[in-house]
């Protein structure tokens, strides 16, 4: 049905559109008149200077305006009515960087805005190119760990990354950009992930692959030597091939690459290595360079050597995010830094055995304790003690709001948690995800701020001592007493580890099923 009123009518009304019904404009006369130029100059304490002949000539100021940086343009426009009116025709031009993220966030949900369309904005004028290149790569979500982004709409943003999978691709890039004077990466992000042409190499497989990898690595070096200082994010997928000597050659390259990316904020290393002890020795003798601006470090490696090498040398003490994934075998040799080494840490995701987790979290008596907001703990061992693990996390009681736990706890420790009515002291925890959990929910009832609970359950068993309904209620949690037992709980997500069955979400407001995503 068409609306009876037209917005144009109200806009044209002398008393403005706000004089419609429930509200009215007051003190219209209060809108300040633009200050005279003399007044402004007095405020600026330059009254003693000779009169500036072009003080009120719009063209002069607009010329200056066009030369300002984006932030200064916005300040200029807000200075007074007169200046604001002068730049009215240029609003669409200088507000671009300001509206970029609201538009990108909104459109990601409602349209098929593609990278190509987004990047096209860069080709409209120099100002938009500069604003885009300054603002877009600086969006904080580029540096976040997955768990921080999960479910937070404002962090969802299209990633822009230059991806190099072959020697030919790097060669072409270097040729086409040979005369490029500045930053050739719109997203200031790069990924090196060599894909070897395996089928063609059946005859002289080993020698052929080694030759191709050397070519690729040498070109990576060339590219980073020339453009590496522009990068803020770099992802290295390293799969050293061959004997120890070839491994050492690869690590030499890796060390060389790091020397040419001094402004890096996020370093991702994915590596597979079978020469651990020798590699460890290599990094002892050839210390990696420190990257002072690093905020996020992501290491996924079967090797303890790369962990030790990167964490001990590259990572500055003010790093904010750590993602550490390793194989069980590699852990025995890890020289895990204590978390207190990183006083500015805000988020970590670690896959460690229980023993190593305790080592990672130890020495927290040493101030300052990092204000970690988001943590993911992934423990593989079956013998993990429920109480000890949560106690170690209580070091972050003052800051932790989001926790994900992948763990198998011992039955004894779970029973003990009920019998002793364990009180987990995490007063700020709002979001908790329990993965492959089969224990009772009683220990979580005393979390005063818990709003979101997600359980991926694995053969959930009946706990006679438990007073929270779960077993038998999995498909009808609206009937469970969990809503009374955890009064702050707003949303509950239940998922069986049988992935053929969709998960279900329950919202306190509705207390009815809604299909899971």
């Amino acid at each position: 049905m068409r609306d009876r009123s037209s917005p144009r009518d109200s806009v044209r009304t002398a008393d403005s559109a706000v004089a419609i019904e429930n509200f009215s404009v007051k003190n219209k006369g209060r809108i300040e008149e633009p200050a005279s130029f003399e007044t402004k100059m007095k405020h600026m304490e330059v009254a003693a200077y000779p009169h500036f002949p072009s003080d009120n000539i719009a063209e002069v100021w607009l010329n200056i305006f066009d030369k300002l940086e984006a932030d200064d343009k916005i300040t200029f426009s807000k200075t007074c009515h007169e200046w604001n009116n002068w730049v009215a025709s240029r609003r669409a031009y200088f507000l671009f960087s300001e509206i970029l993220f609201p538009v990108v966030h909104m459109l990601k949900q409602t349209t098929n805005l593609r990278k190509r369309e987004l990047l096209r904005c860069r080709t409209m004028c120099r100002s938009w190119t500069n604003d885009f290149d300054r603002v877009y790569p600086a969006h904080p979500s580029h540096l976040f760990l997955e768990n921080e982004i999960d479910g937070v709409e404002e962090y969802e943003i299209i990633k822009l990354e230059n991806h190099f999978t072959s020697t030919q691709r790097i060669q072409r890039f270097l040729e086409e950009m040979h005369s490029h004077p500045g930053n050739p990466f719109p997203g200031r992000s790069i990924r090196f992930q060599y894909e070897s042409p395996t089928l063609e190499m059946q005859g002289q497989r080993r020698a052929g692959i080694l030759r191709l990898m050397r070519e690729y690595y040498a070109l990576v070096s060339q590219l980073l030597e020339k453009y590496g200082s522009h990068l803020h994010m770099a992802n290295f997928d390293i799969y050293p091939y061959g004997s120890w000597m070839e491994f050492m050659e690869t690590y030499n390259y890796f060390r060389h690459w790091l020397l040419h990316i001094p402004n890096l904020k996020k370093l991702v290393v994915v590596e597979d290595n079978c020469h651990n002890s020798l590699s460890d020795e290599f990094f002892r003798q050839n210390t990696l360079p420190q990257l002072p601006h690093l905020e996020t470090v992501w290491i996924d490696s079967t090797s303890h050597a790369i962990w030790n090498g990167v964490l001990e040398a590259c990572v500055p003490s003010n790093v904010k995010r750590l993602y550490l994934l390793s194989s069980l075998g590699a852990m025995k040799h890890l020289r895990i830094p204590e978390i207190a080494y990183f006083p500015n840490l805000e988020a970590f995701e670690v896959r460690l055995s229980g023993k190593y987790l305790e080592r990672f979290l130890n020495n927290l008596d040493a101030a300052p304790i990092p204000l970690v907001r988001t943590a993911t703990v992934d423990c593989w061992e079956y013998e993990l003690d429920f109480g000890r693990m949560f106690r170690s996390l209580e070091a972050f009681a003052g800051s932790l709001t989001d926790l994900t736990v992948w763990a198998y706890f011992t039955e004894d420790s779970l029973r003990d948690a009920i019998e002793t009515e364990i009180d987990i002291h995490l007063p700020k925890l709002e979001r908790l995800k329990l993965m492959y959990y089969y224990g009772p929910l009683d220990p979580f009832c005393k979390l005063p701020a818990l709003k979101f609970l997600s359980i991926l359950y694995d053969g959930f068993q009946q706990w006679e001592e438990s007073s929270v309904d779960f077993c038998g209620f999995e498909g009808r949690m609206e009937e469970s007493n969990i809503w009374e037992m955890i009064p702050s709980l707003q949303e509950l997500h239940i998922q069986s580890n049988d992935l053929n069955h969709a998960g279900k979400s329950y919202h306190r407001e509705k207390l009815q099923l809604s299909p899971s995503e």
Partner: protein, 169 residues
């Protein structure tokens, strides 16, 4: 009727019903904060919005007035939640509301809707800006946004080349 004074960056005061103001997430929070800190339950809250000038604030209030009986959309409402395309929530009134506006004003409205947490208005304004970019030629976009191509030498070609390398894998 409980009222609240909302004051723009350039000092214009708008007297608005609290019921209407609370349809903005930001104003709702400010009113509730005022209530908690005020001893006098009858006192009229006064909220200064230092980032929004009168012309824009008036348009936001006008839009809220028109949509005062719409269901309030949560901030994270999205396609999966059943709302779908922002256009679905756009009435003829919305189209008439936006039609005479210069794109610069629409962009200021985006910033205001984002700041004041008015999801519906943010939806339709972002959609409008997106429609001026997606599927348009470079010249059409420059005309819509009143942009002049001020690239020097081969800068424009270079920018396109950078884009191509960033999109291609």
């Amino acid at each position: 009727m409980a009222l609240v004074r909302v004051i723009s960056s350039d000092g214009a005061a708008f007297l608005v019903s609290q019921r209407l103001a609370k349809r903005s997430g930001k104003l709702k929070t400010e009113i509730e904060t005022f209530r908690k800190s005020s001893d006098n339950s009858e006192a009229q809250p006064e909220i200064r919005i230092v980032t929004i000038r009168a012309e824009i604030l008036r348009l936001v209030l006008q839009w809220l007035q028109q949509h005062q009986n719409d269901p309030v959309l949560p901030a994270n409402q999205n396609e999966q939640d059943g709302r779908g395309d922002a256009e679905m929530g756009q009435s003829q009134w919305d189209r008439d509301f936006l039609a005479p506006m210069d794109l610069g004003i629409v962009m200021e409205l985006i910033l205001a809707a984002n700041h004041l947490e008015v999801k519906g208005l943010l939806d339709i304004t972002c959609k409008l800006v997106e429609s001026k970019i997606t599927g348009r030629t470079v010249d059409e976009i420059r005309t819509a946004f009143k942009l002049k191509s001020d690239f020097k030498g081969n800068e424009e070609e270079q920018t396109r080349l950078e884009n191509r390398w960033c999109v291609e894998n």
